[in-house]
Symmetry: C2
């Protein structure tokens, strides 16, 4: 049993971060609510968080199409944030906006993450593979005490996921064949792009990513593994 | 006292690895001696380790001057190793040579390193900044259980130290000014190059790096700090 689990175990597990590892919506909403209280402003801070996140993919796609020059996610987040601050009635100066933008460096991990990663680390190399820039991922991981073996970011390849350069570049930096690497993510499009590059994939179900009231799909039938959380993933990998 | 220590504390400590963090000579010599015994070959394995290491700087300099295309340190090590295996009378096939080449992924840390890093990590971001390639650094760090916040390699910049691209690129990836970063190394030329890029520097004295019988210099007067080992460095930074 242990032998058969270890035979199919990938050499490296690389994790998407926003939504998969951390509860970006809950964390951003909480910090916005705190800021709103201190400024005497009431608003739907979940809607603010959702609007901020909704700008993410279109902004990255503009970089991916070459309409914007390469820039790290912190810069794209800041560009989106300026308009949102006005729209939600927050009066912040440039320094305060820059500080708020770093909320993405302070996101909280889902409850199962730390214990799950500690188990997975025993049998596999574990790392990030996120569109977040290096400074963001390093600070977030340190604050949340995530025991990564390495932190890899789209920034290292100057391409955003789902560009193949990111998945193939990560495998190459680890001197592994793509098939020895498994991407772990809560998003089926990210997993599909990784599979097109030859990686194994694991879908992790994060039903609360977009808040409590959202519909969410079923399992990802094309993934090697489907897991309820990181502890379940460790169970399935025999770790 | 704590306040004054924290005022001058850098945001990030980046560590040279070979010689500074790990005892490359002792580790390589030990694995060569084991291999020699299993092949019935006697030789001065310390001399083999020294000769391997002596080829390191000239090989990197050929890459730095553009005489060789960019390649990771694993490739340069392999290129040097082929000649040494013959010279020292080891009969190894290509697969065995490739396996021996990975001894650089399995080096042992100096005795103070793990405890020192755990203390330093409390107050600073800690990471590598080595000419070793990413796969080498990640595997070495996992095997030696080094608690880095991030692993940065010359490979990410396709330049070898002491090229400025490495020091400046590392600070940029961490979104820090060079002056907020301190390079920690046992080699004065590495530290001098970092200072030319505006980094702070700490010299760590590793008198046994080249074996027990070698002369070694005094303190590095131009460095911000001089430390006997990583525990001493933590003391001096008030951590």
């Amino acid at each position: 049993m242990a032998r058969s689990a270890s035979r199919k175990r990938p050499a490296a597990l690389l994790f998407d971060v926003f939504g998969t590892v951390v509860d970006w919506r809950g964390s951003v909403k909480k910090e916005l609510a705190r800021l709103g209280r201190s400024h005497g402003v009431r608003a739907d801070w979940g809607e603010f968080a959702d609007a901020w996140r909704a700008g993410y993919r279109p902004a990255m796609d503009r970089v991916r199409r070459g309409e914007l020059p390469w820039q790290p996610l912190d810069s794209l987040h800041l560009r989106m944030l300026r308009g949102l601050v006005d729209r939600f009635g927050l009066e912040l100066d440039a320094r305060e906006i820059a500080a708020l933008n770093l909320v993405w460096h302070r996101l909280s991990a889902w409850r199962d993450v730390r214990a799950g990663l500690r188990r997975l680390k025993r049998g596999c190399l574990i790392g990030t593979l996120s569109n977040g820039n290096m400074a963001l991922l390093v600070e977030l991981s340190k604050a949340a005490r995530l025991p990564w073996d390495c932190i890899l970011s789209a920034e290292l390849f100057r391409h955003y996921k789902p560009d193949p350069e990111v998945y193939l570049g990560a495998a190459a930096l680890l001197a592994l064949d793509p098939a020895q690497v498994m991407l772990v993510a809560a998003h089926k499009d990210d997993l599909a792009a990784a599979r097109r590059c030859g990686l194994q994939t694991a879908y992790v179900h994060r039903p609360l990513e977009f808040g409590p009231d959202t519909a969410h799909g079923g399992p990802d039938r094309r993934s090697t593994l489907n897991a309820g959380d990181f502890e379940d993933l460790a169970d399935q990998l025999g770790l």
